[in-house]
Amino acid sequence: MATSFKIDLRRGMVVTGKWKQGRYRIEKLLGEGANGKVYLVQRDRNWFALKVGSDAVDLQSEINVLQSIAKQKKQGQETFLFDVDDLYGPDGKEYPFYIMRYVLGTTLADYLKQQGAEWFPLVGLNLLGKLAKLHHAGWVFGDLKVENVLVADYGHVELVDYGGVTAVGKGIRQFTEIYDRGYWNGGSRSADAKYDLFSFGVLCIQLHEPKRLHGLTTELLPQNRSVEELMQVAESSQGLRPIAGWLRKAFGGEFHDAGDASAAWRLLMHRSDTHRTSGIPGWLKGLVAVSAVLLGTSVYWLVRNML
């Protein structure tokens, strides 16, 4: 188990790849997790993200996935993986790393807090679109959670942390309990598109009702965790009620894949009540009514004066 991971790269340091001699200047730490640390780096005036790992086998298996995905990429799609190499840490030891596109964005929860919940339907759609692409190529994301979704301007979505990405049919490589289908007694831990859609459903609940979701995990006995419990939260939540039917399908594995699911999501978006929670506040509606009356009277006067 990766117990202690001590590598610490400082701002201004330049790391050089052992095999390909790529040189990267460290700018700052972007984040860290169980498998490594991610830094913002610069090379020839371009920004990248560098992920350095503690375990060569673990990191390589993540890289293998990224490389397989890269091979399937169609022309014109943006490159994600740029370089793979080893570096010498300040302690003189070798550490494996890879260079990926720097995703400028905030985590999903922060984005909605800053920009407003009215972005949720669009961000959700974009996220389903990302998943659909992955599913289409034969992969399941696996460890879908709010921390692994970065959102840039205008609701543009990017997935990070490919450590859980699993080929369809195999056992999910990495997951987080509350997003896991097995944890909720909702099905197996085999990789299929429906697994990601289940996690997506939990993610929706996490965004709207984080406290109540957490409450379920502490109150319920393991054998009583169920889709029904999740649905009760969804149905009694103002923000989630409009998508409750969609969620039930996602939890029940009724969507074939993310493409299917996003088509249904898109239909919902164009129904007025999906947007209602963040819609026009009461006072504004009042204002509109007043101005309509005013407009009516001014038109009346205009017409009268013309005559």
């Binding site: 293998n64 197996s188 831990r189």
Partner: protein
């Protein structure tokens, strides 16, 4: 691949040293993982160091966790140990081919290939995990969490492509001074198993070492483990960098 997973909350106090027993297991090709379950942050200095040493002698991993983390830890350890076991076998093979056993020392493209093989074998080779549960008095309030962790582990193993089985033991036995009692023979599912530990009488002693020996014996009796090991070795030797 064969594993023992010991879940305990303290120190052994009778019979053969569990560290010696774990070393025995290791020499039989069985990796021993140990999870120490904490109450309120303490298993005592002695318990902690014993737990660590059992795992070291058994070629496995050890972790101290509270009950909320138990399921995820058990799942992660089992998975990690599978990879580690295969990694050791692959490294032995690499040594013969390259005169160098380290995966880290390989250039990136070769490393990618080797790790692909490790991942593939990790997913497809047969796996047996014998769980040994400390059922001494202090563990009583934790048994529900232990049972949950076992069910959760079964769920993860069922998602593997290779044949995966678990068996469950607890110690000490309730009567006749038994060191260890089997609760569940090798199985690949828990459907219909209402309770893994029905009406346990929690004993006072903690014969961890003898319990491990008992399970090694149990492994020896089975033929399946041996066959699957040969299979893995065969696949390994067919692999050339």
């Amino acid at each position: 691949m064969k594993q023992i997973l010991l879940i305990t909350d303290g120190c052994s106090n009778v019979g053969l040293s569990p560290i010696v027993a774990a070393a025995h297991a290791n020499s039989e090709g069985i990796s021993v993982n140990v999870v120490g379950v904490l109450d309120h942050g303490d298993v005592g200095e002695l318990g902690a160091s014993e737990i660590e040493e059992i795992a070291r002698a058994g070629g496995g991993l050890s972790r101290m966790v509270n009950m909320r983390q138990l399921s995820q830890t058990v799942q992660m350890m089992t998975r990690k140990t599978v990879v580690q076991t295969i990694q050791i076998a692959v490294q032995k093979e690499l040594k013969q081919v390259l005169g160098n056993g380290s995966i880290e020392a390989l250039p990136p493209d070769k490393r990618a290939e080797v790790v692909r093989v490790i991942d593939e074998l990790g997913e497809t080779s047969g796996l047996q995990v014998a769980l040994i549960i400390d059922a001494s008095a202090s563990m009583k309030p934790k048994l529900a969490a232990v049972e949950e962790a076992i069910r959760d582990l079964m769920l993860s193993l069922q998602a593997r492509q290779g044949k995966s089985e678990i068996s469950v033991f607890h110690f000490p036995g309730s009567r006749n001074g038994d060191d260890c009692v089997m609760d569940l023979n090798w199985t690949d599912h828990l459907n219909g198993v209402q309770a893994i530990f029905p009406k346990l009488q929690m004993g006072g002693t903690t014969p961890t070492g003898p319990a491990i020996m008992h399970v090694i014996d149990f492994y020896r009796q089975g033929v399946y483990g041996r066959q699957s090991r040969d299979e893995t070795d065969g696949m390994m030797s067919g692999y050339v960098v």
